[in-house]
């Protein structure tokens, strides 16, 4: 029997110690009406090699970003994963360890989280980070809850330029708290209209969210936004791609008090969108409202430094129904991966990563602008992602490009003021000059072709 060590002799000897004659006797106290009176209708067990072959067959029926050339983003990116990240994070000591509730035998996990918290604080300019969240969307919802609780208000403004998947999760998670959700409109530049937002800032508003760079890959007018939100006395929550913080102004610099985001590009495989790595950081004044685990540094009886889970009086195992969040875990192994990734990168490496992303975005912009009929509708500064406006539906281009081995991007129909001809293209540090040229070539080929071309996937 896989993974179970018991021999028939073991079982016999153990039953004797217990004082029963058969394993079934151990279940005799289950009430008859609750018993399953048949075997489970599941397939027979397989050998290790049979399971492996089943999975390899599954993998063969898929087509991933290793096989195709990916320009997909929208929150999850085709980013470099260094070998050291895989090697270290697969160590049993990290992989198979439990939650660090016994700090004396969990200093490895705890120090890693403390270092992760430090990295996130240094990237965002915040004072306090938690040990991680499920993903960027749930981190945002938790950040909004914190802000509204701090202000004792129940109205939040979300920007139209927010990731629509984040908006859906926020809608669900705020429904239970009866929060009033307003939307700040997007302008012709693809960014929030600051004046329109300012006019919405009534005293009922406790929290304003911005995403920077926004879902369209554009840098918002963060200084002006931060000013009007703070003048109105609301809490500014920033949702950010942490890779962009290599170069972009930190949320602290423009007055955000809570920062959330998705750290998947720091060494985490996309695996169809999970497990990911949400993060949540805040200014010192909010630290006792931060959800989830937090690690602090302290010392033992001999004065040796050590780390523990702390601020636990916020948590649901103490506060039960008075808790404001029910999160009881963190994405520990992925936080480890991101911490190793950032250690590999260092400060200079981080800047180089940012520049690599920027220069590729610039190169793609120039290449596609040479393709007749293609427009880059938003001229403002951006990072990592670019919107293209095509003379024909983006969905048709997506299918055409896929038949040429390219994952062309995310059609934007109905998102942030965009129409059916708009597509969101992500360009990461992994894309080569040849990849970028191929993109422009396939785009030109598509636009040269007949309107009604049947696309063979």
């Amino acid at each position: 029997m896989p993974y179970v060590p018991h021999t028939p002799e073991d079982i016999q000897a153990m039953l004797e110690v217990i004082g029963v004659s058969h394993v079934d006797d151990l279940f005799a106290h289950l009430p008859a009406e609750a018993r399953l009176d048949r075997s489970l209708d599941l397939p027979d067990g397989l050998t290790e090699e049979e399971v492996r072959q089943y999975f390899k067959q599954m993998a063969r029926l898929n087509h991933g970003q290793e096989e195709l050339t990916s320009f997909l983003g929208g929150g999850v990116y085709d980013a470099v994963v260094p070998a050291a990240v895989d090697a270290l994070s697969s160590r049993s000591e990290f992989l198979t360890a439990y939650t660090p509730y016994q700090p004396e035998v969990s200093q490895g996990t705890l120090q890693v989280i403390y270092e992760w918290q430090t990295y996130i604080c240094r990237l965002t300019g915040m004072d306090v980070s938690n040990a991680s969240m499920y993903d960027g969307a749930t981190a945002l919802a938790e950040g909004i809850s914190m802000a509204l609780a701090a202000k004792r208000k129940s109205t939040v403004i979300l920007p139209e330029t927010l990731n629509p998947r984040y908006r859906r999760v926020v809608n669900t998670m705020m429904a239970g708290e009866q929060v009033n959700i307003l939307t700040a409109p997007v302008g012709p530049e693809g960014t929030i209209l600051v004046d329109e937002l300012a006019a919405m800032l009534t005293p009922e508003v406790g929290c304003v969210v911005i995403q920077n760079p926004n879902y369209l890959g554009l840098v918002e007018e963060v200084d002006a936004l931060g000013r009007v939100v703070n003048e109105a006395g609301a809490v500014l929550v920033a949702a950010v791609n942490p890779v962009s913080l290599s170069l972009l102004k930190t949320p602290a610099e423009y007055g955000a008090q809570i920062v959330v985001g998705e750290a998947q590009p720091f060494g985490i495989y996309p695996t169809w969108g999970g497990p990911l790595l949400g993060f949540l950081a805040c200014a010192d004044q909010h630290k006792r409202r931060i959800p989830g685990r937090v690690v602090g540094r302290t010392s033992d009886g001999q004065g040796r430094p050590g780390y523990v889970l702390t601020l636990q009086t916020r948590e649901q195992h103490i506060r039960r129904e008075k808790a404001t969040s029910n999160i009881c875990s963190n994405q520990g192994l992925n936080a480890l991966r991101a911490t190793i990734y950032l250690a590999m990168l260092g400060g200079e490496g981080l800047v180089e990563l940012g520049e690599a992303n920027l220069s590729r975005r610039a190169a793609l912009r120039r290449l596609v602008q040479d393709v007749p009929g293609v427009e880059v509708p938003f001229a403002g500064a951006g990072f990592n992602e670019l919107v293209l406006r095509l003379p024909r539906p983006a969905e048709a281009f997506r299918a055409f490009a896929r038949s040429r081995g390219l994952l062309a991007g995310i059609p934007l129909d109905g998102v942030a003021g965009c129409g059916e001809n708009d597509i969101l293209v992500a360009v990461t540090e992994k894309r080569t000059a040849e990849d970028l040229r191929a993109y422009a070539r396939v785009l030109a080929e598509f636009l040269d072709g007949p309107e009604e071309e049947e696309v063979q996937a």
Binding site: M58, L72, F94, W272
Partner: protein, 509 residues
């Protein structure tokens, strides 16, 4: 405290030959690099620099101050850190309610395959046929295991599954026009996430007293239900490891009052192939794949907490739903309607689900049943061998875990359960779950799981016998434990009073 003063032989305390490394933020040296990125090649690079994309005004004033390290330094730092952890492959975790079983390496290898790990969540179904086939199979297997009709793999953790379970029950009542059904009954022995999940789903928890054995008091239940009842949340087997014997009556009472039953499936390892929540009258169950289905805890996550539900509740599960087409291909369908539910950016912790699928395929139906049998056998064996000096309050035979009480140790020797737990760390074992459930004095909750061998259980018993002797002859060994770990008991009160939550000071020298 040196090794020599500890008992010798098999049960000697283990010295921990590891020291904590300095913070990584104190190790940087300007100019070192482990990872770099090539500039664009050829004519494309040209005059293009980041400056054309990002004006000075949008940039941060200072680059982030991060330590610069070489790759060998990084490898050493994290390898040294790793040696400070207890983990399954070092020694046993007798952790009640946590099911710390062996994490098969096969699962890790397969979830990391190209064609699975490299799938982007915005890819179309034409690229996902193998993945969707596997996830659909997992959904169907979990439904058969639990006796339900539909499954959502999306919840990223057990608490996330509880939350989704509450959302679907609430959605059903709202659709039926029962806007006043907002009360969820929770026994006082429940885990703290249960009431928290109820509240964030927009409902109200109402605590009902359980009997001395942690089971539901039927009279208290009958009094509590009414037109305000949305449902009840029950852990079965309960937090004392006992099966809720009146579960059918509980289900009848709640259903007749118009409520629905939610089962916290944290203890599913006790009943696989023996009993199914769906057959007992439950409407929703969540499973912890990181417990029952052998996926690793990773020092705190990621796990996965799928829920299985009755056909009545299936329409309220969040999309996308995986649908099998007439031609055998698989498609994704969004949950219809404007008020659709969304609890994660994408489809939850898919990589964890793949690991669980690998485990379920490897074991098969008989293997899962066998896992439960051996888990229950191991728990009963430990109970029989330990009860002499760790009495069990409810000694009617346990399932996969039992709750003992250390109150005799406290009365006789002034040794608390916390001290026993900390002394176990010196012997290469993890502590059990202690002081939970609250209804047992000096609770000491043990769950060995099926992957521990008889020898390993015997050595745990031998360590406990040694500790019993130590408590009598030299209780300070326990009250001041642990002695051999990289650090001793830490000042948790000080950590909370003056939080030090990040490294300060410059990085590179």
């Amino acid at each position: 405290m040196s090794n020599e003063t500890c008992p010798t032989g098999q049960t000697a305390a283990r010295r921990w030959n590891a020291e904590a490394p300095d913070s990584i933020f104190a190790k940087g040296v300007q100019g070192r690099r482990a990872l770099g990125f090539a500039p664009l090649s050829g004519d494309l690079s040209g005059d293009l620099t980041g400056a054309t994309e990002l004006p000075e005004a949008a940039r941060r004033a200072q680059p982030a101050d991060l330590p610069s390290l070489s790759e060998p330094q990084v490898m050493r730092h994290f390898t040294q850190l790793s040696t400070l952890n207890h983990h399954i492959e070092r020694g046993m975790y007798p952790l009640g309610s946590c099911t710390m079983k062996y994490n098969p390496r096969l699962n890790e290898q397969l979830a990391g395959l190209a064609g699975l790990a490299d799938l982007h969540p915005e890819q179309g179904v034409e690229d996902l046929q193998g993945l969707l086939m596997g996830l659909k199979l997992l959904e169907e297997n979990l439904c058969e295991l639990t006796g339900f009709d539909a499954c959502s793999l999306i919840p990223a953790a057990g608490a996330h599954g509880e939350y989704l379970g509450m959302l679907v029950i609430r959605a059903l009542h709202l659709q039926n026009g029962d806007t006043d059904r907002t009360e969820i009954l929770i026994p006082d022995s429940a885990h703290g996430t249960n009431p928290a999940s109820v509240v964030i789903a927009g409902m109200k928890p109402r605590t009902i007293k359980s009997r001395q054995d942690g089971c539901i008091d039927l009279d208290a239940l009958r009094e509590a239900v009414g037109p305000q009842t949305a449902g009840i949340m029950i852990t079965n087997p309960n937090t004392l490891g006992l099966f809720e014997r009146d579960i059918r009556q509980v289900a009848d009472i709640v259903h007749q009052a118009g409520g629905r039953l939610y089962m916290d499936g944290a203890n599913m390892n006790a009943i696989m192939g023996k009993a199914r929540p769906g057959d007992m009258g439950f409407d929703v169950v969540h499973l912890n794949l990181h417990k029952t289905m052998s996926t690793p805890h990773g020092g705190g996550g990621p796990g996965a907490g799928p829920i299985c539900v009755t056909a009545e509740l299936a329409p309220f599960l969040p999309g996308p739903w995986i649908r099998r087409q007439a031609d055998g291909s698989l498609d994704l369908e969004n949950q219809p309607g404007p008020g659709s539910t969304s609890i994660h950016s994408y489809f939850g912790n898919v990589g964890v689900c793949l690991r669980a699928l690998s485990y379920m395929l490897r074991l098969g139906g008989d293997g899962l049943t066998r896992a439960t049998e051996c888990a229950v056998l191991n728990a009963n064996y430990l109970l029989a061998r330990l009860k002499e000096f760790l009495p069990v309050t409810h000694d009617k035979g346990c399932l996969h875990e039992f709750v003992a009480s250390g109150s005799v140790w406290k009365q006789e020797y002034g040794v608390r359960t916390l001290d026993i737990a900390k002394r176990l760390l010196d012997y290469g074992l993890h502590a059990p779950t202690i002081y939970f459930p609250l209804i047992v004095d000096e609770a000491f909750m043990v769950e060995p799981t099926e992957t521990e061998s008889r020898e390993s259980l015997d050595s745990f018993v031998a360590v406990m016998e040694t500790l019993w002797q130590e408590a009598r002859s030299n209780p300070e060994l326990l009250t001041e434990a642990p002695h051999t770990t990289p650090v001793g008991r830490l000042d948790e009160a000080g950590a909370a009073r003056n939080p030090d939550l990040r490294h300060l000071g410059p990085c590179n020298c």
